[in-house]
Amino acid sequence: MSNEDMAGAEAAASYGLSEVAESIEIGAVPYDRLLAGGRRRLRRRRLLTGGAGAVLVVAVAGAGTAIGGYGREAGGASVAAVSSAAALVPGRSSVSGTPSASAFPSPVASPSPVVAPAATATPAAIPTVTPTASAASSRTPRDPFTPVRAKIGEGAVNGHTMEVWVALWPAARTAEDGLKQGELIWTERRAADPTLPADPAESGNPVWDLQADRVDVYLVADGKRQPGDFVDATTAPGGTAKDDTGPTKGVMLNRVTGEASRPDMVAVSVGPEVARVVVSWKTGGSVAAVPVAVGDSPVHWYAVVRRLGSTGNTGNTATSFAADGSVLGVRNTWW
């Protein structure tokens, strides 16, 4: 490409991008949402920092023997700090202690009988269905080869029983363990979806990360695990990505009974300070969900059945509430 051609291409790109960028309509600045979100992040940051400091003081005073266990590179103090900090959060759920929806007077109408998310219908039942090791306390050594599972929501679509599960694979401490863990996850996924390639290297999954747990979010329809799951790295206790989650981060699971290319359920991760979420559909109506803790992960999850016809990038909102009922944030959702 000659210099003249290059200059012409750059000018065209500049013009074209300006055309596109200026085509978007600029609405009002959502000051309240920005401030609420910023304060929420700041609170979480201070809480974690304060918790770490408190644990450090205790450890120096000679009580550090209680802080054992996992011993990741970040240090036992950080691991314990998260547990300590979580205990300070009002209403923060343990694996078996997720707050009941009845503790929060719901301002929303009940969902339709067909679209009945479990979190609204039977909120107390969600955290108690734990087929494997989900009852393990945070003191249980974290085994990167044994996932902790929790059902984060359920519902019915077209007469099919739908459940969303999260398998939390604790962070591996060595690259070798990380690879082994990746193979185990892959084996489990291939069992549900034989069309996946045999080589885990083709998965495109996140690479091993000392600071990150891995989650596998999958759909169970009529008692059978379905293909089309979601695997991602997620913040581990003591990890550095403290602001990794937000009320709008989510994943759709839609390979089974819904309309073609339409999701049946959506699973969303939130921070531990979120005690309840109300999703309002743009087509009307809303649904409440109670986020569920999975093992000792600082990232909590909820899942709801999507309202048919609400597909689109805008219009649906998710409002997250703290345990005291205060609003933590209101976000437009992309799902």
Binding site: G16, A21, L34, G38
Partner: protein, 172 residues
């Protein structure tokens, strides 16, 4: 304490108000859709609020927040696995023939670029940053910016959108 918080909030509000439209347009080019753009800007500004003392003390607060925005964009793509089913749910089927809206074609071509190429192109040719400023925003070398921007530009040229827009608008 309360006065400090109020001052912090006031400063932040003023900054967010002035930076919002520019950040949103940049985010729109990076994310490819309005909602994704708003979410990206919101995340970036929330992070800016947390680190407000650093932001306000920076030589160029706009550049500081722009870097947060670019990092947030890069982080999302880094973390998104191949199995991620849906990013933005279409309300309508994808067009099967030529799109009459050249802007839509360009936006789609931009969205098809790898994230780093897209960032380089947007920062160089929309934000009109120098190569060194772009490198600072992307956290990479100037050489990387040059190569990523050149590749991205070459791919955009393969679409007809650039020439159509240039023909219609007469270039700039």
């Amino acid at each position: 304490m309360g006065a400090q918080k109020t001052a912090r909030d006031d400063e932040f509000r003023a900054f967010a108000g002035s930076a919002w439209s520019r950040l949103l347009r940049t985010a729109y080019l990076l994310a490819g859709d309005r909602h994704g753009a708003e979410d990206l800007v919101q995340q970036a500004l929330e992070r800016a609020y947390v680190h407000w003392t650093k932001v306000r003390a920076a030589d160029d607060p706009n550049a500081y927040v722009r870097r947060i925005l670019v990092n947030e964009h890069a982080r999302r793509f880094r973390r998104r696995p191949a199995e991620y089913l849906v990013e933005a749910f279409p309300d309508r089927p994808a067009p099967t023939g030529p799109d009459p809206d050249a802007r839509a074609v360009l936006l789609a071509a931009l969205a098809a670029l790898p994230p780093r190429q897209r960032e380089a192109v947007v920062l160089r040719y929309w934000e009109d940053l120098s190569e060194s400023q772009t490198a600072a925003a992307m956290g990479c070398s100037v050489g990387t910016v040059k190569s990523q921007a050149a590749r991205g530009l070459a791919k955009l040229r393969e679409t007809s959108s650039l020439s159509e827009l240039t023909t219609v608008g007469g270039g700039r």
